[in-house]
Symmetry: C2
Subunit: 196 residues, 2 copies
DNA sequence: CCGTAGACAACTCCTCCGGGTTTGTAAACG
DNA sequence: CGTTTACAAACCCGGAGGAGTTGTCTACGG
């Protein structure tokens, strides 16, 4: 467990992000202060600034972290359905929907819950390419690699996955019944987009 | 259609809604007060309450009014492309997107602009069936009637149009390039959903 | 060299406090 | 009927104050 690599530098960032996620889970984004993160990790406040830059960048880093987890989940879901694209993509949709529900960070970022609206919303609206575009590219790559039998061009995959992401976010903001029901509807849309 | 019923009652409501829309366009939702509407229409404040019930119901009525306009636009767009479903639906998408941009009421309702967030957002999130479900039903009926050659079952039309609406709202909240570019992408998705 | 501790101005946030406005309802009036 | 008037409760606004935070800079120490 003890890091062979530099024990302090790169690992500190991860611990700071984890601490921030903990504080958010417990008391929300407003309760996240640089000083609290420093104390929780056992480091000075300036190290936090050196490592994260600013609070806005912390928000961005947290979103990117969340995005990575999301892509990883999608990867696992398609791996569980190797030979049926529609099943795999639909499972990824349903699983992502359930995982996102009750995720405090996501609830804050989607503006529903009050809190750092000014810190998180810009990441999804003003500069979507930062986090959303990144997710689209990664997921499109995952799908295209896992399901080569679905004959879509790279740009078609990009369009399909962008629609996939938009519908996912839409169902988070405006739930329509259960996740079960939503993914049931999505199965039809996904089936059409992937060529039935 | 409508009898030449009392000239005052039903017409007053329409004038009140129009006045509210004017005030919103000029000074935003916060500037809309029941007293101002009464003065602008030349009626007493209580008549406003008798006619509209409350401010929350006024918000709902305005959204329904906007929904009707939207459905009417869609109707016109599909009528302009009688023999090509994908063209008609895509045109409806692009046209709706452009019409919604710069529509003060929509900007408020979608939460981006500050303002009556507490009055409008619930209409799209807490009780989506009130306004959104209504729009889905109406648009699905329009599409199904205009393009019978697209062989979708009524429930398939409902699913497809719900996706259509969700993607429309998504592009309003998170624009991706120009309306031109967005509808270009949507053309592919629509083509797939309607059976290429 | 890297991280710490301390100090610092600017800023945000919260609270309290009035005062004005608005909401929503109810009565009396024409 | 619709209008006027009255009214309690809630809401919004601007200011004053104070605590807490942000972000930066400098001096210190292993």
């Amino acid at each position: 467990m003890k890091a062979v690599t530099p024990p302090v530098p790169a690992r500190t960032r991860e611990k700071l992000l984890a601490a921030a996620a903990d504080v958010i889970r417990a008391d929300g984004w407003a309760a996240v202060t640089m000083g609290k993160l420093a104390a929780q990790v056992g480091v000075s406040r300036q190290t936090v600034y050196n490592e994260l830059g600013s609070k806005a960048e912390l928000a961005k880093a947290l979103m990117l972290r969340e995005t990575d987890r999301f892509v990883e989940r999608v990867n696992a879901d398609v791996a569980a359905h190797p030979d049926h694209a529609v099943d795999g993509v639909t499972a990824a949709f349903r699983h992502s929907l359930e995982a996102a529900r009750g995720n405090p960070l996501l609830e804050i970022a989607l503006g529903g819950a009050q809190g750092g609206r000014d810190d998180f919303l810009p990441l999804l609206t003003s500069q979507p390419e930062a986090v959303l575009g990144r997710a689209v590219d990664a997921v499109a790559a995952v799908f295209a690699r896992a399901y080569p039998e679905v004959r879509l061009t790279p740009s078609e995959w990009a369009v399909a996955v962008e629609a996939f992401m938009r519908l996912l976010l839409s169902h988070l903001v405006q739930p329509s019944g259960s996740a079960e029901h939503a993914s049931g509807q999505m199965r039809w849309v996904i089936g059409r987009m992937l060529g039935s």
